[in-house]
């Protein structure tokens, strides 16, 4: 079952997501004027939220439309970031060329990972992508000739295009915001295209799709490569924001950060990841102001979200709606739950949405 056959939304349900999306974009656009210390808030909260969100969005795209939970998205972003780093620091090439190389390298890495991993599903896909990520981390930590090992590649300087100087933090923020919105639109477009609808078919019933003549593996590989492209874009923003690339970018900790972002935001929601990224970014910056045990606080927030909002922040609206409906309706004729609404993190890991 998928949202292909979901009942048409009516009334409030139809315009609410648009209104909410519009409000979020409005706040994002006005963000530089709403904060008291733009020098801190724009790069450390705004830009970081967006690149974390873009990388997590690539993970969510794969999970929601293909039913694959990949832990290699950070690795792909890292390959892209290293591509930019090597071109700009080692070969002293301009940013545009470096970004192109980064995008190609990241997307190619995603394609190669897919070739290996696409034949597996659910927990096995997750484990293989995690293992590949760790192999790359170890390589990046040791390959001094390419990655400069633990020292990493620095400085990766922001470019000045003349008409747009990314060293100006406000310009950089808007540049990144536009990229974030474009990535979101691209994901939505891909999902609603024939390609996206086929992917959902592959997710829901691979055997039936195979019987219809579709090459299921080819579709999975194509989807993983597309998600790798999105993650690569995130990697380029990341390396510009951090001004350096080192093995920590692709460490297990960074992989878990993106997974936490996806789960807090909602592993079934493309837009929700930005809410998850905002929460994690605020926590990593400010949790220490509340307690010395700030990692514990981050963990607690994660557990609370898992317990009380298994579909993430993006699923809270639906949960509240369900709660109200249950209160209004007598127990015996409670509405049947739409199976496609089950976008919980637990479901993604154990079942990977596959049959």
């Amino acid at each position: 079952m998928s949202e292909l056959f979901a009942p048409k939304r009516t009334g409030v349900a139809r315009w609410l997501p648009w209104a909410l999306g519009g409000a979020v974009i409005l706040v994002a656009v006005l963000f530089p004027f709403l904060v008291d210390r733009p020098r801190f808030w724009l790069p450390n909260i705004g830009v970081r939220t967006i690149w974390l969100g873009i990388i997590a969005m690539s993970l969510v795209f794969l999970n929601r439309y293909v039913g694959l939970l990949s832990l290699a998205q950070v690795t792909v972003a890292g390959v892209s970031a290293y591509g930019v780093g090597v071109m700009m620091v080692t070969f002293e090439q301009p940013f545009v060329l470096a970004a192109l190389v980064g995008l190609v390298a990241g997307t190619l890495a995603g394609f190669l990972i897919a070739l290996i991993a696409a034949r597996t599903k659910a927990i096995y896909f997750l484990m293989i992508t995690l293992a590949i990520g760790q192999v790359f981390y170890s390589w990046a930590s040791q390959a001094i000739e390419v990655t400069n090992a633990r020292r990493g590649l620095a400085p990766v300087l922001k470019p000045d295009f003349g008409f747009l100087n990314l060293n100006d933090i406000t310009s950089f923020y808007y540049f990144v915001l536009v990229i974030g919105i474009l990535c979101y639109v691209l994901c939505r477009y891909a999902a609603s295209s024939t390609f996206g609808l086929t992917l959902q078919g592959v997710r829901d019933s691979p055997d039936r799709m195979r019987a219809l003549g579709y090459n299921v593996n080819a579709y999975r590989i194509a989807a993983t490569t597309f998600a790798a492209f999105i993650a690569s874009v995130g990697g380029i923003v990341l390396v510009l924001d951090r001004a350096q690339v080192d093995p920590d970018v692709v460490s297990l900790g960074s992989t878990l950060d993106v997974l936490v972002v996806a789960v807090i935001g909602g592993v079934g929601s493309l837009g929700g990841v930005f809410a998850g990224a905002l929460v994690l970014t605020l926590l990593s910056n400010f949790a220490q102001n509340l307690t010395d045990r700030y990692m514990t606080l981050t963990g607690l927030v994660f557990i609370i979200v898992l317990l009380f909002a298994p579909a993430g922040l993006a699923g809270i609206g639906k949960q509240v709606k369900g709660l109200i409906a249950r209160r209004r309706t007598p127990r015996h004729d409670a509405p049947q739950q739409d199976p496609s609404a089950d976008q919980s993190a637990e479901h993604a890991i154990t079942e990977g949405k596959q049959q």
Binding site: D36, R37, R39, F40, P43, N44, S138, S141, Q142, I144, A149, R150, R151, G152, A154, P155, R242, A243, Q244, D246, D248, V249, S251, G253, S254, L282, S284, N285, F286, A287, Q288, N289, L290, D292, Y294, M295, I324
Partner: protein, 419 residues
């Protein structure tokens, strides 16, 4: 429904209040300065160096005690010091997040820290972008940090190559080693640490009989032990923690009869207290580092140890390498502030001038500064010996005085010609 709305409103209000409180929307920033000087301290509070924060606080408490101050600040040079702490997990990502927060959100005038080498290299890169803030290093020791040209960055202890200062000459002249086999972990700290030893050792006439760079976490050294040439005089062990303990243990079982030369973290307490049967391999191992061994005779050192033990945050029976380096660095910072009566005007010009020309007798010997704002220090040569109760102790052999920084950032090397 009303209840729900009220609940929702309450939740939003509570959430917003917590957010405002946490994000410090009332923080003013230190630009205006006045009589308050804000110092942001970075130290590790998570991960395998999680005790770094406690040691940093103990060091600051020991340095602030003579002023009647605490870990949170006090009155120095007629100014009120306000000390803010930012914990990291030792990674570059968290160091970058926290140093930016200290400077751009909390508005500190001076950043003090960090602990680990990876963090240090990141913080220096950041320091280059905020010339208005002064940075005093905590305990990060990569050679390259003070060679990046950051005019606002100061380090009041030796780098990891300097931690081997004097040992290469000692190995040739006193121990008579001509040929040494190199075994070290494959990352930047051992590159610098081994580079410091072998550059001096090779210059004194020694040679490298072979080299093995192993990944961190290697536990099986049998194949490497079998590669050590028979005519080698000694083995340089640039390993740390559990890896060093594994090697020492296997050196005993595989009958390695060669004397050992330890990197600065090879013969710490983890390695020495792990397994009793490593004694025959460990005894006689010589090493170098910024921490004096037993028998170091210096009244300033004795005073520091007492001050450390009196500090509320001190957790160890004797100061660790982190508390020593943080103390020397923080005391230097305070002396710099005193020299200019806390004057941070004109982009900290006078303060930086004072820091750059500082000279004082620290617990680990005289500290002075070179033109790269890097300290010239004493370094300690240590030998592992058996104590009266049979335990292994690090005995102070001698001090190499006035050790200066070189200009080489070391990489993997296989022979003296590579250096």
């Amino acid at each position: 429904m009303m209840l729900n709305k009220k609940g929702l409103a309450a939740a939003v209000a509570a959430g917003a209040s917590v957010l405002l409180l946490a994000t410090g929307c009332t923080a003013g920033g230190g630009e205006g300065g006045g009589d308050v000087i804000k110092i942001g301290v970075m130290a590790t509070s998570e991960g395998n160096l999680a005790f770094g924060m406690g040691e940093a606080k103990a060091a600051i408490e020991a340095a602030m005690a003579p002023y009647g101050g605490t870990a949170d600040g006090g009155e120095v040079a007629g100014k009120t010091l306000e000390i803010i702490y930012a914990g990291t997990d030792g990674t570059t990502a968290s160091a970058q997040t926290q140093v930016k927060k200290l400077v751009e959100n909390d508005g500190v005038d001076i950043v003090f820290g960090p602990v680990s080498g990876d963090e240090g290299e990141t913080v220096v890169q950041y320091a280059l972008t905020v010339p208005e803030v002064t940075f005093v290093n905590g305990s990060a020791s990569p050679v390259g940090m003070t060679l990046e040209g950051a005019e606002n960055f100061f380090r009041f202890h030796g780098d990891s190559a300097m931690w081997m200062g004097g040992l290469g000459t000692y190995a040739v002249e006193e121990k008579g080693y001509d040929s040494v086999y190199l075994l070290a972990e494959d990352y930047s700290f051992p590159y610098d640490n081994a580079g410091g030893f072998f550059s001096e050792f090779c210059a004194a006439g020694g040679s490298i009989s072979g080299a093995s760079w192993v990944p961190v976490g290697t536990t099986d050294y049998a194949t490497i032990i079998s590669q050590i040439p028979a005519d080698t005089d000694a083995v340089y062990v640039g390993l740390g923690g559990a890896d060093a303990a594994s090697f020492l243990s296997q050196a005993v079982t595989n009958g390695v009869a060669k004397p050992l030369i330890g990197g600065s973290i090879a013969v710490d307490t983890t390695a020495l207290s792990g397994d009793a049967n490593i004694a025959s391999a460990a005894i006689g191992t010589i090493t170098g580092g910024p921490v004096p061994g037993a028998g170091y005779d210096n009244p300033v050192w004795a005073e520091f140890v007492d001050a450390y033990l009196a500090a509320p945050s001190a957790e160890f029976p004797s100061p660790s390498i982190f508390s020593i380096l943080y103390y020397n660095s923080f005391e230097s910072l305070l002396l710099g502030l005193e020299a200019v009566d806390g004057d941070l005007s004109d982009g900290h010009a006078a303060f930086r001038e004072a820091l750059g020309s500082l000279e004082w007798d620290s617990p680990t010997g005289p500290i002075s500064m070179d033109e790269n704002r890097q300290a010239i220090v004493d370094n300690f040569l240590i030998e592992v010996a058996e104590g009266e109760d049979g335990s292994l102790v690090q005995q102070n052999i001698s001090e190499a005085t006035g050790v200066k920084q070189g200009t080489t950032v070391y990489d993997r090397f296989e022979s003296c010609d590579d250096l």
